[in-house]
């Protein structure tokens, strides 16, 4: 499988590593030179330096032959537009995005992004699960 990840931050780099381990081909886009250098050093040359919601950058990252595009930046406007370009221009089969601000959920849904990871909801549910036994004890 060929996966393009937008964002070489904590989420993006962990994802890249995971996909590579599972035998997929990966490209990572980030506009921060330092982050791309660090990731390239760790995983081999997989980064494309540039803006995620930019068509030429996306072409360079191989969006034309990609199975899955995953947006992981901390900025919802970049994640949203990049996914819409991935779908509208490159007809990527699956688009995935993190959702930083829960309030943007409706907009992301309407954009037809296939899988949305609501970051705050995720953290809350993990904590709830961890705390549940404690709360039961206290009763």
């Amino acid at each position: 499988m060929y996966v393009v990840i937008l964002g070489a931050g904590r989420v993006g780099s962990s994802l890249a590593s995971w996909f590579l381990d599972s035998g997929s081909e990966v490209a990572v886009i980030d506009s921060d030179k330092k982050k791309t250098q660090i990731l390239d050093e760790a995983l081999g040359k997989i980064c494309v330096l540039g803006d995620g919601a930019n068509i030429s950058v996306m072409e360079e990252a191989g969006l034309t032959r990609t199975d899955m595009f995953i947006a992981t930046t901390g900025e919802d406007h970049i994640n949203l537009i990049a996914c819409q370009i991935a779908r509208g221009k490159f007809e990527v089969h699956s688009t995935v995005s993190v959702l930083n601000e829960a309030n943007n959920g409706k907009l992301f849904d309407m954009a037809g992004i296939d899988f949305i990871v609501d970051m705050s909801r995720l953290v809350i549910s993990e904590i709830e699960t961890a705390l549940a036994p404690k709360l039961v004890e206290e009763v």
Partner: protein
């Protein structure tokens, strides 16, 4: 309406309805646009997340509430609704960021459902993608390129 004819005196200008316009982005483009639109008798609210940006607006217009500056973030549906203060006719996304303009324009059009939404973009290809999604946009590069072409070939 058959049989009814309005006799307009020759010197009378056509009736112009003041439109309620929200501009996102108080940079060079947004601020000068707000002045022109206000000159044409429209009611302008202009939003920016940096209060210093409003220094570009003429104080007189702010004092007379012909141009109302609103501090807020165009990526937030809540901030946009607050800035729109009820009904608005037109939303113009004019920040320096293509992605912010696109996100704000989609909130305005698809969620808040402002009747007329126009988005400023740089990239022609991106404009084409979003046109297919029903979003009206203006590409600054295209306009410059078209003008240069016409004038060079004239």
């Amino acid at each position: 309406m058959a049989g009814q004819e309005q006799q307009e005196p020759a010197h009378r200008a056509p009736v112009y309805r003041a439109r309620r316009i929200l501009i996102l982005g108080c940079g060079q483009l947004g601020s000068s646009l707000s002045i022109r639109l206000s000159d044409s008798g429209n009611i302008i609210r202009i939003m920016d997340n940096d209060s210093e940006a409003f220094d570009l607006l003429p104080e007189r217009r702010i004092e007379t509430a012909r141009i109302v500056p609103v501090l807020g973030d165009g990526r937030s549906e809540g901030d946009l609704r607050r800035a729109l203060a009820g009904e608005s006719d037109i939303f113009l996304a004019c920040t320096g960021s293509q992605t912010i303009n696109l996100m704000a324009a989609q909130i305005a059009r698809n969620i808040i459902q402002i009747p007329k939404v126009i988005c400023v973009l740089e990239d022609l290809e991106v404009a084409a993608i979003f046109e297919k999604l029903g979003l009206e946009s203006i590409s600054s590069r295209k306009i410059v390129a078209d003008q240069l072409f016409e004038r060079a070939m004239a």
